[in-house]
Amino acid sequence: MNKIKNLADLRELKEKLQSKTKLREKSEYPEQLVQIKVAMATCCIASGSRETMNYIVDELDKRNIDAVVTQTGCMGYCYAEPTVEVIIPGKESIVFGYVDVKKADEIIEKYVKGGMLVEGIIPMNYKKIDEQ
């Protein structure tokens, strides 16, 4: 039985990571970080949310963006899966629908990095003008 903990590689990896200054303390100020929640229920998985989340996890690292990526359950927008909720500190949360790899790239580049809204928003937080 091969075990990951028996691998000296793990120790090597640990030392390599510790020497890097890149290590970020994510847990200290989670509320100041961008939160990205990928819906991961049966409907979402069948529509390709695993690929979307995989891409987001890889790209955030590549582009050096500090963000917390988590999963949520079905938000009830099964017709628009995969759905992704993005919470930028100080702003209202926004849910995007039909987020494939291409859309995810657009969301990261334009909304997360630049603060610009992109198409494909599901108006779940919709409020009438007199409610605001």
């Binding site: 091969n2 990571l17 049966t42 069948a46 079905c74």
Partner: protein, 178 residues
Amino acid sequence: MKDLSYHILDIVQNSLHAGARNIGIDISESTVNGMLCLKISDDGCGMTPLMTRRVSDPFFTTSVKKKVGLGLPLLKQNAEQTGGTFTIESVEHRGTLVSATFNLRHIDMIPVGDIASTFKILIAANPDENFIYTHTSDRHGFELNTAETRDGLGGISVNTHEVLEFIVEFINNNLKEL
């Protein structure tokens, strides 16, 4: 669901939703017998006997946002269409065990798929939960225990990108030897 790896991702979401801290994913396959056995166990809140009987009904769900619950029924269908079996056992406040067997030689057998991706996503989103993944075949076997990995890494989080890539490589290398 196109393959087994998606089913694993899907069923484990149930365990996480049930508040499980330790989730075991066990796959044992034998080309000699032509059988594959998938077991997913957790220490979540469990279910009552009545609910356990009803969960493989596609029109039963605990969700208030939709009227269907397809995760377990789809797994049941994919197992049974190969002549395999599907069982679910649950004890309230103790946990749940989902088991499915597949006939590897059946024409309707779904592929195993990208298991490494499934675990990458699970660990990335749930760094504090313990996943124990064991996979054995006639020739080889391996285990990934995120609790042990966490200990081995000291203070470094298991969802650091380099660690995730390391885990993906570990799984893929071992799957090749199966």
